[in-house]
Structures are given as structure tokens and as C-alpha cells.
Amino acid sequence: MNNSKNPSAGLGLGIAGLVLGIISIPFGIMGCTFMLALVMGILGITLSAVGYSQAKQANASTGLIIAALIISILGTSFALIRLTHSTSKSIDIFDSWKIKLEEFEGRSDEFGDSFENAFEEGFREEYEEDIDLDFDELENNLDRLERDLENMGDDIEKAFENLSDEEKARRLGKATGKALRGFVDELSDTVEIN
């Protein structure tokens, strides 16, 4: 055991711990800076504890180091209270959003059912026959159509790569005209049926 008296053993660490502890108190009490205070407080406790053990080993005075330890613990406690408060607030907010989402999902299902019923009713009124609607299949078909359109876009881009702007405009115009013609024909057929 080393009983030699070194009056400044652990003092440097004690001073650092005390400064960190003092700063952590006002920072820990404010909601915006408590994380900073938590880090400073924990660092203050660690430094003070190491300083205390050094001072004890060298039989040096420990008054300042104990004060540093107490103040750092106080600052850390303030920061921990704030952290707990903040976390509980975030859990409350999460829970309220979860409830809102569940309510919305419930309403969304209701909306979907109402829409489906109204659509079938409207179809029956209009065409005087029942319709067997499969919305999942409809959704799948729409997804497929979207993918096809994307692929087509890539093909068009490749095909148009080496064409002049004038040629691009001519081909696009022709394709659009054809598509519009087809659309008008389809529309005329539908009107004739009705």
C-alpha cells in the first residue's frame, strides 16, 4: 500500500469533474440540452470517481473531489429526469398516433366496402345485370399495366436514342393520333351499346 502523501493526487480530475458537474446542472434542467448534460454528468462522475480513488491511495484531501461527485450526480439526475419525461412524452405521442392510424384503417375499410357496394349498385342500375367484381385482380392488372408502361417507356427511349428531334416529333405525333383514333372508336362502340 502506498501511504506517501501527495496533496494534489486526483485534484486535476476532481476539478474537471466539478466543472463538468456544474455545467451539467443548468443544462440538465432545460429540455433542449439535457443530452449534453447527461454526457457531461456521466463524464464528471467518472472523472471524480477516478480522482477520488487516486486521492485516497495517496492520502490526499478528497473534499473537492467528493463535491465534484455530488454535483455531477445531481446534474446527471436532472438530465435523467428530463430524458424519462421526454421518452414518456414520445411514447404517448406514438400511442396516440397508433390509435389514430387504427381508426383511419377502420374508416378506410368502411370506405372501401361502401365504394364497392355503391359501384355494384350503380353498375346493376346502368346495365341491368350483376357484376362480379374482384378488386384484388383489378389492382393486380393495374400494377401490370403500370409495369408494361414503364418498360415501354424504356423501349421508346432506346428506339428514339439516335433519331433527330424532328423525327421523334413525327413518330410521337403519329402514335398519338393512332391511339386517339382507337380511343374514339372504343368510345363510339360504348355509346352505341347504351
Binding site: V19, G31, T33, F34, L36, I93
Partner: protein, 142 residues
């Protein structure tokens, strides 16, 4: 040089005072560098990051910056307690400088007669100036 050492670093109390005074000056420099218009503060509100909601200290950095630019009404609009908290740090800075100079020759005075009033004054100032914050913290509704 020897005088400077005597004033600022001769004993633990002087060292602590010097570091705290330096830290307060750093807070003021931080407030002066970053501006509320650009809102380019590197330290963000921990409470807002965790809970997503505003706390009593929201807008304090912007308030401090406004005070540094002598725009006191603007400071109050960012945070109603900004002037109060700024005053605490300003008084603390003066106190640190005062005690540093008062305690220039620590060998000639009993340090306890300086430390005890310093602790008492600082504690009272902290309780008074941070009253809304500790009151809010102690009466938090869980």
C-alpha cells in the same frame, strides 16, 4: 506571466473560476456566431428530437443570438425566458471575474470565506433565474 498565473491558475478555485468564465464566454460566442435567421445551430433540441414536441427551452439559442444582436423583443418572441437565462449567465460571468480578481492573492485570505458566499450566491441565482424550469421539472405530470 507570473501575475497571470497567480490570478487565473494558482489554486483549484481559481482554475475552476477561469474554466467556467471561459465556458460562459464560449456560450456567448456560440450565440453570436450562429444566427436565428439562418437557424444554423449545430446543437439541436434533445427534447424535440426524442419526443417531437416543443419544450420550455425551445428557441433559447435563437433568443440568445437575438440578445447578442441587441434585439430584445425578438429574443422574447423566440423564448419568453431567454433574457432571464441570459442574465443568469451574464451575472455568473461577472461573478467569476470578480472572484478571480478578488482572490488574486489566495495565500493572504482564507479561501472558505470566498467559496461559501460564492456557492450561496450562485445557488440563489440559479433557483431564482431557473425557477420556471425547475418548477416544470419537479411538477412534471407523468
Amino acid at each position: 506571466m507570473r501575475n497571470l498565473y497567480k490570478t487565473f491558475l494558482s489554486n483549484p478555485y481559481q482554475k475552476i473560476n477561469t474554466i467556467l468564465a471561459g465556458f460562459i464566454i464560449l456560450i456567448f460566442v456560440y450565440s453570436a456566431i450562429f444566427s436565428p435567421e439562418k437557424n444554423n445551430y449545430p446543437i439541436h433540441s434533445a427534447d424535440k428530437l426524442i419526443s417531437g414536441s416543443y419544450s420550455m427551452s425551445t428557441g433559447l439559442s435563437r433568443g440568445f443570438s437575438s440578445i447578442m444582436r441587441l434585439q430584445f423583443n425578438e429574443a422574447l418572441s423566440y423564448n419568453p425566458f431567454s433574457i432571464r437565462i441570459f442574465m443568469f449567465f451574464l451575472i455568473q460571468l461577472f461573478l467569476r471575474i470578480f472572484f478571480l480578481l478578488y482572490n488574486r492573492n489566495p495565500m493572504h485570505s482564507d479561501i472558505r470565506y470566498i467559496i461559501i458566499p460564492d456557492i450561496a450566491i450562485s445557488t440563489v441565482l440559479f433557483i431564482v433565474f431557473f425557477e420556471p424550469f425547475w418548477r416544470e421539472m419537479l411538477f412534471i405530470r407523468w
